[in-house]
Amino acid sequence: MMLSNKTDTEVFQALRSGNLLALGIFYDRYGEVVHRVALRMLGNVQEAEDLTQEVFLTLWRTGKYDSKRGSMLVFLTTLTRSKAIDRHRQIKAQWQRLQRFSHNAPPENSSNLMDKVSLEEISQRVREALAELPPNQKQILEMSYYDGLSQSEISDNLNMPLGTVKTYKRKGLLYLRQILHDLVE
């Protein structure tokens, strides 16, 4: 079977043995998503491509991915976000706060998301799930995730009581988890 038809775990084994084609396959599968996150967080096409390259080279050089700890997709989006935060850290102290949950890698789980559903399907599911959230919850989640704003900064920005911000943020995540339950089991 062609390497390109194999599961992420098998392709990763090939990558660990120094197969450059395996890296190309991962780029084909996830390059656009990594770029998507990078562009949203850095806001600049050149920087986003630069970060995308850094993420895939990190995968290539360190080979730290552990399939028992979650899917390649989750690994790469988490890594991208963490590296985007690294780039901002010198500029904005607030990004440090985000480190706490980006370095919190998902614990052991052997399920492989991409073996079940295509990236487009997952993207569509997440978009629909987000669209179901009350607008305030969605906005607060995004301000927190992409812009690295603290709860009190969001509270100031939206002129909303701090307690409400906290509640919306938590409820937003819990609601998403409920809608996307089959993707995160």
Binding site: R16, G18, N19, L20, T52, R61, S144, L174, V184
Partner: protein, 253 residues
């Protein structure tokens, strides 16, 4: 009494934990809870994954078509931290044989990776990418890199190609030019000749330009064989060639 593990308060606490919004004292308390009730770790994991899926809702982007190529080029200049040995299924005899050609084959690995990778993309629009192809093809075409050289028989005089063994990737790469397209219901098959027996190695059809570029898992028969044949066969898999031989390959190294 309701199970506190199902309570909304706990779920919200775990959500804040995943966000990193808790005070150090609260974090310590949650860690203690997780140690006492390990099943709660599953919920934490689900929340972390939900959060990691969030950016998929972002609109799709179009990275530069050459980005993948640039990444592979950069990667080819750096090694992984932990290169591992060739797969165990390669026999000792094969290893000896591979050792002899290893240095040559290794030199085409990079070109092979880039070339095949790009074939996968079918997005050969940018000129830079095209020049990447040409470099890779040139690498593969260097006479010293050919392990088995193929020539068309009288039936297929203009066809030529090569089979390159790439031990580092544990694959063999077949590359052919000017091979005629077959009528429906027929396919080309590659056979290694081992001890006068023909052993099936793979099957393929050329593209509209008569080109074939495919990789196959490295097989002992393939590596010990000094001759190979390509025949025209019916689609139905038969263990021996039945059709006409259109190309012959022999070791050229």
């Amino acid at each position: 009494m309701a199970d506190f593990r199902e309570s909304d308060e706990l779920k919200e606490l775990l959500a804040s934990y995943v966000f990193g919004d808790l005070t150090p004292e609260e974090v310590a308390a949650v860690n203690e809870l997780l140690a006492t009730y390990p099943e709660l770790n599953d919920e934490v994991s689900r929340l972390q994954k939900t959060l990691a899926l969030l950016p998929l809702a972002l609109p799709e982007t179009t990275p530069s078509p050459t980005l993948g190529y640039q990444i592979l080029q950069a990667a080819s200049r750096t090694n992984t931290d932990s290169p591992t040995a060739i797969s165990n299924r390669v026999s000792r005899r094969t290893k000896a044989w591979l050792a002899a050609v290893g240095s040559v084959a290794a030199s085409v690995v990079v070109g092979f990776g880039l070339y095949t990778y790009n074939l996968h993309r079918e997005l050969v629009t940018a000129q830079t990418e095209l020049s990447g192809y040409k470099q890779a093809i040139a690498l593969l075409r260097q006479p010293s890199n050919r392990l088995l050289t193929f020539q068309g028989t009288d039936l297929s005089q203009s066809a030529s190609g090569s089979l390159v063994i790439v031990p580092k990737s544990d694959v063999a790469v077949l590359s052919i030019q000017n091979l005629a397209t077959l009528p429906q219901g027929q396919i080309y098959r590659l056979w290694a000749v081992v001890d006068n027996k023909k052993v099936y190695c793979g099957e393929f059809n050329p593209d509209s330009e008569g080109k074939v570029f495919m990789q196959m898992p490295l097989d002992d028969d393939m590596t010990v064989s000094s001759q190979a044949l390509i025949t025209v066969e019916p689609l139905k898999r038969i263990s021996q060639p039945t059709g006409k031989t259109v190309m012959k390959g022999s070791i050229s190294l």
